[in-house]
Symmetry: C2
Subunit: 230 residues, 2 copies
DNA sequence: TTTCATTTCAAACATGCGCTTGAATCAATA
DNA sequence: TATTGATTCAAGCGCATGTTTGAAATGAAA
């Protein structure tokens, strides 16, 4: 019987030969999981692309699902490192500027194209078919971003808003950002002349900010009116 | 060898015994495809729930994929019959009222709950993993709605807007509507105390209209300023 | 060189899947 | 009743998949 310790052998040698195989499998799996989805991706395909034996996945990761979890977490972490949530806007900037920065950073992550968007594809599939790995991803990766957005919205709208209004405001911003990504199959079929073209991240971000900032202020006014009218 | 004519036999008798089986399979398949997705749904499960033999799917529909196509088209048609796109707002109403009606009808379709939302689940899966049936659904079902929304936005924003701005405006409205549905797995994990609860359709629709109408007018102003500044 | 734990490998195992088959059943017609 | 075409059925075929297995290869330590 095998002992699946894999990476944490008692000796040293972090980048041993086995590590190479492990990393090759991770890289191949990232691409294939993103393009095919968890269900359609086969460990045979992954191992072939990684120049590894079929048994390598089970030896190094236990099973296909644990491999997927590691791919998802690692891809999310890599993306956060590359695109910090703030969008480069300093802490002390106005709420409007910070919201615009948040939107721009998010749009660049998603609509930047290339292998950097593997994470977006995987997350889109998680929405249709959540995997056991999603709990961890949300708690460790998504929640900090969401809290940052909530903080910005609180600053922009004033702290008196009911929780439900804050959730709606959050959904308003995120929904606008994600639409062209999550609904891409429909958008491509509605505008076939633009097939394969992604919206320009910065132009889209500007448009969303231009709608959201006046729009959210109007939303606050609506809630304040409802408060007074009671 | 069998001749798979199924429903269109040369004689009369629309609701013969065979039709019962066919319809039972359609109903069972609708539920299972919506809940499990095309890939995880098995024809064995479907036939068991329909009290039919495994071979019945192939006999009546040819194969699993043709069954799915029929389920998807039929479910979409049923939903459109039940929730007309206009939201009950008359043709001659103001663009603002028509937009609010469109948003409200859409939200009710999606967040109404119950088996009526089977379509939304299936469409969400189509976004992650488009099936061959999606082309037809978009052309026959989605496009008319999209053109209606575009017409409303044209009336609201004036006809001079560049195409890209119109697409962004369309995405802004639809993205806000769809967010809590398409990102439900993440939203549920971010707000576990609200797990299983859907946003109230009318409250959400009001909030989206309250953001979108002032927001979109601001977007137009931005494009007009860009036009002049050139 | 010998030893020994780690890693790789070809082969196959076990399972679940969509689909097919040919006979049995059913219902309408002559 | 006898005939005929449509439908149902139990059984199983063929295939792809995740996983296991036991042996072979590898490479550092003794």
């Amino acid at each position: 019987m095998f002992e699946m310790k894999g990476c944490t052998h008692g000796h040293q040698s972090p980048p041993t030969t086995s590590y190479d195989t492990r990393q090759r499998i991770l890289d191949a799996a990232t691409e294939i999981f993103a393009k095919e989805g968890y269900g359609k991706a086969t460990v045979r395909d992954i191992c072939q692309r990684a120049n590894a034996n079929v048994a390598a996945v089970n030896y190094h990761f236990g099973d296909k699902e644990k491999l997927y979890s590691e791919v998802l977490m690692q891809t999310y972490q890599a993306m956060l490192n590359r695109h910090p949530t703030s969008g480069g806007v300093p802490e002390g900037a106005s709420p409007e500027e910070r919201l615009a920065g948040f939107i721009r950073a998010f749009c660049r992550r998603i609509y930047g194209g290339g292998p950097e968007s593997y994470l977006s594809w995987m997350m889109a599939r998680e929405m249709a078919e959540p995997s056991p790995a999603l709990d961890d991803v949300v708690q460790k990766m998504v929640r900090p971003q969401q809290q940052q957005l909530i903080a910005i919205l609180n600053a922009l709208l004033g702290p008196g808003l009911p929780e439900q209004a804050l959730r709606f405001a959050m959904g308003s911003v995120l929904g606008q950002i994600l639409f062209f990504h999550y609904c891409r199959p429909v958008v491509e079929r509605l505008f076939p002349e633009r097939k394969g073209l992604l919206p320009d991240p910065d132009q889209l971000a500007d448009a969303i900010a231009a709608v959201s900032i006046p729009g959210l202020k109007a939303l606050r006014a609506k809630y304040e009116r409802a408060q007074e009218g009671r």
